[in-house]
């Protein structure tokens, strides 16, 4: 089945709208008002009827695959189930019909919710103060790096502290965020489990280092056991530790970044706290800091005075505004509901089961596809498909074949330090039965790879488009049909 674009279905005269025949406005000649080159004779809208449009989008939607349609083990993305009750409550009129610039006294309930949510996040992470403004993960990183810069500027060390350390296993957004604030990136080598190579850290350490950006568990899904030593090395040098919250789902209720020595954290509400993402977004990435960095948080900040909650901008050392107004408020409402529904025991249980599930999949599959790192994993496991090279099969071919079996593929080729990586994150919301179906499919695919690799190389077989031309997509992008 090929899916036509609406513009390809266009037939002159077909229409889904009815404009009044008589207009209240006088007819004007656009050519007299604007230069000729600004005037288009046609704007290229498709001529289609209402049923055609409805069917087009309904059919497209039926091709979509999401957490609500099946297992979605996309590593590093925490594609957990999003409870529907949270959607329903976040759509209450008091939340949806208020405006971010409304006077504070008219939205006390919403402001209370945000203030309480900040306090809950502080308790969960072991930090002292939060901002809810950043719109998603990379925006949170940028905010964090701006705080690092402002901190050293205020100390009179900004000229000297120009470097940010980033492990080679890091998410690609980390160096991009640090570079956006004008920092120079220094790569720190990784151990065979994806952790910080402490010996190399000591080697690259000097008085120019402003901070290190770390993900814990690291991007190979392994807990950073040297974290206390790393924190000591950084702090002794007068440098800060930044926590990328991408993998916090492994640690909820178990250990806290603040207790590990992190000075700044960002969280991905859309991963850890069950708000939809991946096309269903938007995201939200609150940034938390220790007390001595509170004054640098972006404005507005939420404060309580004389039984009134206010949103204020008078914070002298603040990095300023990082977006026009408000947070992604409804995302915050959903994450808040998630935390209240789960409670502290529930969050602890969620992270325990997330780790158990990942290790279950790893133990069941590693006899067939070896684990990428020789360590116990946390909430996600990385397998390496490099042994399939003799069959001409790569990690991506295994993933493409998984689509035939009705599963969303795991993350491919990340982290970069593991060749032919397949990164699987089941999350706590999957049952053992679902995981067993997935494990069975993977075992069958391994068998097929050895006996009939073309089944993998030509997969997927049942989708409208089998394999898009990735090189053409990257080099020859045309978004205006």
């Amino acid at each position: 089945m090929t899916v036509k674009l609406l513009i390809e279905s266009s037939k002159k005269g077909n229409t889904g709208i009815h404009l009044p025949l008589k207009s209240n406005f006088p007819k004007t000649d656009l050519h007299q008002t604007f230069p000729n080159e600004w005037v288009r004779e046609t704007i290229g809208l498709p001529n289609v009827s209402e049923p055609e449009v409805v069917r087009h989008f309904t059919n497209l939607a039926s091709l979509n695959y999401g957490v609500d349609s099946g297992f979605y083990p996309l590593g590093s993305c925490t594609m957990k189930y999003n409870p529907k009750i949270n959607e329903k409550l976040a759509n209450l009129e008091g939340f949806t019909k208020t405006h971010p610039l409304q006077p504070d006294f008219t939205v006390q309930g919403n402001l209370y919710l945000m203030m309480h949510f900040e306090q809950l996040l502080a308790e969960i992470t072991g930090m002292d103060a939060f901002t809810l403004l950043p719109a998603a993960g990379a925006h949170g990183e940028l905010t964090g790096m701006m705080i690092v810069k402002a901190y050293f500027q205020n100390k009179g060390e900004a000229e000297k502290r120009t470097k940010i350390l980033i492990p080679e296993s890091a998410h690609g957004t980390n160096p991009a965020s640090a570079a956006s604030v004008g920092f120079e990136i220094v790569e720190v080598k990784s151990t065979n489990c994806g952790g910080v190579d402490v010996a190399h850290l000591k080697e690259v350490m000097n008085d120019q280092v402003a901070a290190i950006m770390l993900t814990n568990p690291n991007t190979a899904g392994v807990f950073e056991t040297d974290i206390l030593e790393v924190a000591e090395i950084m702090h002794q040098n007068g440098s800060l530790l930044y926590y990328d919250g991408a993998n916090l789902n492994a640690l909820l209720g178990q250990v806290r970044p603040g207790d590990m020595g992190f000075d700044i954290v960002h969280l991905n509400l859309h991963k850890t706290f069950s708000t939809p993402h991946g096309g269903g977004g938007p995201g939200s990435a609150p940034v938390g800091v220790k007390e001595y960095l509170r004054e640098y948080l972006p404005v507005p900040v939420i404060r309580e005075r004389n039984h009134q909650i206010t949103s204020e901008t008078d914070q002298f050392n603040s990095i300023g505004m990082i977006r026009l107004a408000g947070s992604n408020f409804q995302v915050i409402v959903k994450a808040y509901l998630y935390i209240l529904t789960m409670g502290s025991d529930g969050l602890k249980k969620a992270s325990s089961i997330a780790v158990l599930n990942a290790n279950y999949i790893k133990e069941k599959l590693s006899p067939f596809i070896p684990a990428g790192v020789p360590c116990i994993c946390m909430h996600e496991c990385v397998l390496s498909a490099k042994d399939f090279a003799p069959y001409g099969v790569q990690a991506k071919d295994i993933s493409k074949r998984l689509i035939d079996y009705g599963f969303h593929p795991p993350t491919n080729y990340f982290p970069l330090i593991i060749p032919e990586a397949l990164m699987i994150e089941p999350t706590e919301t999957e049952s053992k039965e679902t995981m067993d179906h997935f494990i069975d499919a993977m075992k069958k695919i391994v068998q097929e790879a050895k006996e009939n690799p073309s089944l993998l190389l030509e997969a997927p077989h049942y989708t409208p488009i089998s394999r898009p031309d990735e090189v053409k997509a990257a080099k020859d992008l045309n978004v205006t049909y």
Partner: protein, 127 residues
């Protein structure tokens, strides 16, 4: 198994160096191109710059990832392979010849002795 070109010298980060008097030609190895997959973009802006050994010479983007290429030597970048602008796939097709990336005038020829000989690199990347 990926090809290792005789007579070239190599880095641990999978760059090759072909020595030609006081100048060297630099590229990435067959092993590296194989692991990157189809290459879609190479930044070729370093011409004329003075570069230190270990500095980022360029960034290569493939369908899988974006990776830095580190300069195996210090010196002045005399030329970048402008053909890569049109056809970055040259690195996939012919990593050791047509797919060269930069030509550098050596500032410090002794640095070459720190690089790996072809046999050592072959052992290093034996899969």
């Amino acid at each position: 198994m990926s090809e290792v070109k005789k007579g070239y010298i190599y880095t641990e980060t999978d760059e090759w160096v072909k020595v030609d008097g006081n100048e060297v030609l630099i590229g990435i190895t067959d092993y590296a191109q194989h692991h990157l997959g189809d290459i879609v973009f190479v930044e070729i802006t370093a011409e004329g710059k003075t570069i230190k050994k270990g500095d980022v010479l360029t960034t290569i983007e493939s369908v899988k990832s974006a990776n830095d290429v580190f300069s195996p030597v210090s010196g002045k970048v005399l030329a970048m392979n402008t053909k890569l602008e049109e056809d970055s796939g040259l690195i996939n097709k012919d990593p050791y010849n047509e797919g060269w990336i930069a030509r550098i005038q050596l500032a410090n020829p002794e640095e070459l002795s720190t690089l790996m000989q072809d046999e050592d690199y072959h052992q290093y990347r034996k899969e």
